[in-house]
């Protein structure tokens, strides 16, 4: 695997991470149990699974928007909380979450404003980010004047404005139409390739997970856990042709089969087992 910007080391390390939600009335739900996962710097990892499998919960634990009930989580070599306080990561959601009263460029500048950057530096950076997402003609527009796809590009530019090493994305293209979606996927790969960003990407689309990721982490519900890890060896230079390649379809099939296994034990498929062994992570033994 090669990246444009070489980064060494581990971006995220989860060891035995679990999350129990108290849903009231004395009832507790295991949203996530025994998650072991190591994400290298510069790696693109997709989290996929049906609803209730805890993929969004795992992303929010990494972001310190939620706190784990058990296990240990290290982000950028520190606690998840410290990583959040240091603004080590950028984040984007299915909803763009743009601030309606701020222009496009002032939306992008918000995280920098909270970091205490001066205005000139903020403006220079927002211009750079707008170039990157190809929206430089829209700097002064208001969010509601843009299409859904453009709003999502602004949200991504904002997430990357501080040049974070880590980008956390929760179904960011989920609300977009198929054409826009494929275009955005290619753009995201290009941008993160240029910047050497580590990406954790939550999705429920199998082709999207495979097209984007170096590794697809397959998850299962009740209780939410990792059941499989599929390595996608398509290289980093992916184009529209990648979507039509035989290798691509093989990986899509592999992920689909991993998702279909009821208990997610992963014994039937050799390649999945091999994938787990390769990096020594994934399935929890218990």
């Amino acid at each position: 695997m090669s990246t444009t910007v070489a980064r060494e080391g581990v971006a995220v390390r989860a060891a035995g991470v679990g999350k129990v939600f108290d849903v009231g009335g004395g009832r507790r739900v295991d949203a996530l149990v025994g998650v072991d996962l190591v994400i290298d710097k510069g790696e693109f990892v997709s989290l996929i699974g049906p609803s209730g499998c805890g993929k969004s919960t795992l992303l929010r634990l990494i972001a310190d928007l939620l706190q784990p009930t058990s296990g240990e989580l290290v982000v950028n070599g520190k606690t998840a909380q410290q990583a959040r306080l240091d603004q080590d990561y950028g984040m984007a959601f299915q909803q763009s979450g743009l601030f309606e009263w701020r222009s496009v460029e002032r939306n992008i500048e918000l995280p920098l404003e909270l970091k205490g950057w001066d205005k000139a530096r903020r403006r220079a950076r927002s211009r750079e980010m707008l170039e990157l997402v190809k929206l430089h003609d829209f700097a002064g527009q208001m969010p509601w004047q843009l299409s859904g796809g453009m709003q999502q590009r602004v949200a991504i530019a904002r997430a990357l404005a501080a040049h974070p090493e880590l980008l956390l994305m929760d179904e960011p293209f989920g609300a977009l139409d198929e054409m826009t979606r494929e275009h955005m996927q290619a753009e995201l790969l290009r941008i993160c390739g240029e910047m050497g960003t580590t990406v954790v990407f939550v999705t429920h689309s199998i082709p999207e997970a495979v097209y984007l990721a170096d590794r697809v982490v397959v998850m299962s519900p009740r209780p939410g856990r990792i059941t499989d890890v599929v390595h996608v060896k398509l290289g980093r230079d992916r184009s529209e042709l990648t979507r039509e390649a035989g290798e691509f379809f093989e990986k899509v099939t592999e992920v689909r089969e991993a998702l279909r296994r009821p208990d997610g034990s992963g014994d039937e498929v050799d390649s999945a087992q091999e994938a787990l062994n390769l990096r020594g992570l994934g399935v929890d033994d218990r």
Binding site: L85, L114, Q152
Partner: protein, 260 residues
């Protein structure tokens, strides 16, 4: 004709025609059934009184308009401020909320009576306080609602930026209340005029629309009384138009909420 103009005409013409028809029917009814002018005056008489006495009507409109504006501005400021404080401190909310509801439930007439006794006969303070109270409640309720209804994604983003509670208030919660604040002001503006007018009706200085209406409607010149009522309608409409324009300018995203 430009498309915009055509739309304005298409939307504006029917209600105008309908209104004119109603006035025409009123005129016909008074003439045809020989209704006495001290019972119900003819629209044409009201209009000629309105034109002839425009200086007196305008003077009364200015007094009432200023009373309403005073209460509208003060009530909006206090309502907004109290909503922000009660949202921040739970204890204050528990103290203020029941009180605000109780005061809002007391009929305006009662409060005006008390206020009129508290202040000198030539004072405008009583009616202004009454308008302030009415506007305060509308704004307070709406802004409180706005402060509680925040976009979950925006709040998660602010947390990911390690923002302090003060920064979240300044950069998310307060801007989010703006549509609620200006909708409340638009709702409260015509009500402010009515409350001012009604408060004047029940005593105090005799220079506002309310006093003039109560004085003239009981006299033989009923048409002049109706001319003052017409003046009150004009002030109410101006307040509504002004506050709508304010909302249009200050919260433009309210016009097109397309942000996902």
């Amino acid at each position: 004709m430009s498309p915009q103009l055509r739309r304005v005409v298409a939307v504006g013409i029917p209600p105008v025609v309908f209104g004119l028809l109603l006035i025409g029917a009123w005129q016909w009814w008074v003439v045809a059934f020989k209704v006495e002018p001290f019972v119900v005056p003819k629209p044409s008489d009201i209009w000629s009184q309105f034109v002839d006495q425009i200086d007196r009507v305008r003077a009364a409109c200015v007094v009432t308009g200023f009373n309403a504006l005073f209460g509208l501005v003060l009530g909006a400021l206090v309502g907004f401020g109290v909503a922000v404080v009660t949202n921040r401190f739970r204890l204050v909310a528990e103290l203020v909320n029941p009180l605000a509801v109780t005061v809002a439930a007391i009929p305006a007439v009662v409060i005006v009576g008390v206020l009129n006794n508290m202040y000198a006969l030539d004072s405008q303070i009583g009616r202004r306080i009454m308008v302030t109270l009415a506007v305060f409640f509308i704004v307070f309720v709406q802004v409180t609602k706005g402060l509680r209804q925040n976009d979950a994604t925006q709040l998660e983003l602010m947390r990911s930026y390690a923002a302090t509670p003060r920064q979240v208030l300044a950069k998310v919660r307060l801007p989010n209340t703006m549509p609620y604040l200006f909708t409340a002001i638009r709702t409260a503006a015509p009500i402010a005029v009515i409350i001012a007018l009604v408060s004047e009706y029940f005593g105090g200085t005799q220079d506002g629309l309310g006093s003039k209406i109560s004085g003239t409607l009981n006299s033989s010149n009923k048409a002049l009384g109706f001319a003052y009522v017409l003046g009150g309608s004009v002030v109410g409409l101006l307040f509504f138009a002004g506050s709508s324009l304010l909302e249009y300018v200050v919260v433009p995203w309210q016009r097109r909420r397309h942000v996902r």
